[in-house]
């Protein structure tokens, strides 16, 4: 599905990500964790085609991606959410979601039907006609996810979708994300809310200072001394036991 081979990106003299290699299999949920500045968001920008890598190769569906052309990568079935939501501010919630469906469903009428289904699935159905300006942070995050899903992707990159959500909203979102592989969607997910990602992801990649320091099941990485030292802390290690 997705294969990164020694991917690195240099900004000035700083390597935001360096020598990152990992593979994502179809219908898998892969979590990426690590402290702030570990290079997680840069990694997403690389995979989605927004940033051109300095070194390495990124292959998506057995083809090298079009570096620097995120719209081409998106058309091949990759969708992403943004850490800071990027809604179309002058449109309604429905129009925002509908826009994502317009590439596959050519008329606004058909795309609107897809938008309705997607909004119901995410749980923002009742907000359909609301203006984006009136939404709370949690609702914006859900809208972000709905917009990504309405493109009907095969690979979904989630960038901190849980940040700013209340505990009940987090549980709701965990159910939604957990059900995605059954719908044929592979997920790569960056998250700081450990309760969510450790319970839903099947495999965790840990990044620190631009590099991968550990990979494995949630149970494995949470016991890894390097991960505890760099990110999770002693307290989490006890809790995980």
């Amino acid at each position: 599905m997705l294969k990164l081979d020694a991917v690195g990106r240099q900004f000035g003299s700083l390597w935001a990500t360096r020598d990152v290699s990992f593979t994502v299999k179809p219908r898998e949920i892969v979590g990426i964790i690590g402290p702030n500045g570990a290079g997680k968001s840069t990694l997403f920008n690389l995979v989605s085609g927004a940033v051109v890598p300095t070194t390495g190769v990124i292959r998506f569906l057995d083809q090298t991606i079009d570096y620097g052309k995120p719209y081409q990568v998106a058309r091949r079935g990759l969708a992403r959410t943004f850490q800071i939501p990027k809604p179309f501010k002058q449109l309604t919630v429905r129009e925002n979601v509908m826009l994502s469906a317009l590439r596959r469903h050519h008329t606004p009428r058909q795309a609107s039907a897809v938008a309705t289904t997607t909004m119901e699935f995410i749980g923002i159905g009742e907000l359909a006609e609301a203006s984006v300006a009136s939404l709370t942070v949690g609702q914006l995050k859900k809208l972000e996810l709905a917009r990504a899903l309405a493109t009907e992707p095969v690979l979904l990159l989630l960038d901190e979708v849980m940040a700013g959500l209340t505990p009940p909203e987090i549980r709701e979102m965990m159910t939604v994300i957990g059900s995605l592989p059954k719908r044929g969607v592979t997920v790569v997910w960056v998250e700081h809310v450990m309760m969510a990602i450790m319970n839903v992801a099947e495999r965790i990649v840990v990044m620190h200072q631009g590099q991968i320091i550990a990979q494995g099941t949630p149970a494995e990485v949470s016991k890894n001394p390097a991960v505890i030292g760099a990110y999770l802390g002693e307290k989490y290690a006890y809790a995980a036991r």
Binding site: A50, P70, Y71, A74, F82, K86, M98, L99, P108, A111
Partner: protein, 352 residues
Amino acid sequence: MVAGRIPAAQGIQAISFSAAPRRGAVSIIEIAVLASCIVAAIVVSNRYAVDIMIRTFLWAGLALAWNIAGGYAGLISFGHAAFFGIGAYTSTILLLNYGVPPWFGMLAGALIAGCAGALLTKVCARLRGPFFILSTLAAGEVVRIAALNWRTLTGGSEGLEIAPVPSVVDMVFKSQWPYVTIMVAYMLAMFALSVWIEQTRYGYYLFATRDDEDGASAIGINPSHTRTAAMAVSAATTAIGGTLFAQYFLYLDPTHVISPDISFQFALICAVGGLGTASGPVFGALIIVPLSELLRGLLSQSISGLHLVIYGIIVIIVILYFPSGVSGAIGRAASRLFPTAGFTTRVQARKL
């Protein structure tokens, strides 16, 4: 849903109607305003009044053309006078030098202006906000200075004159009614084009690119192509207005036709009427053009410049108190009067 099963019904379903101005629909208010424009064009016979009407309808069409780039795509351009000038000069030069009727000449002008608009957007692809605006202003000035200095083609500062010999082929008329008819047709065509864009897939791509470029790319929209196409359509339709201007006034010179004032006027009409809406530029032109003409007629005799002061104050008041323009204000008023009628009151326009 029924329309989906009966193909014949889809044509009717394609146009939706609403009470107050709404994106992608034709409202009762808009129909009423446009219909009264047509009635006025037929009924009014006073020469001065008809002259104001001709200018108003022409400017409404031009503002609608500007709005495709400035309102829908968020490409605020202060260089549209260049496209206006390209349209006016192309058809006039073709008419004077080669005897090509302006009916065809305006298509040539539209083609050249469309290419120029596309080129400008491609060249300035990386510029955003004020930087893009400044580059359009500069492009407009380049065209003006080129026209001033290329005397063999444009006649330089002496300008070009079209012989006032009435001829349908040459689009020169003795009476005013053919001009009113042409200008109303131009305005209606531009209005129809705007409403059509609003409800197509491409229109939504424009809104998305305007509101958030990264977000648009992430769902598979090519922002560069979308913007370029919007500017090309806007430039081409502005050029058609340029030809109509030349055929009505029968005189062209670079200082007046390719001046930044013209570009500012396009933007101002849209800002007052409601940026990014189909009805906004029409409302804006119906207010601004007669107002400036009347103020000039009434006040320019008494204290010189007073009409400009009053005009400026009125424009400032409208922009301050109606940030979404007259169109947005009408939508809000309608929703307040009839809260159950389901009017859409989204603020679609922004301050310039």
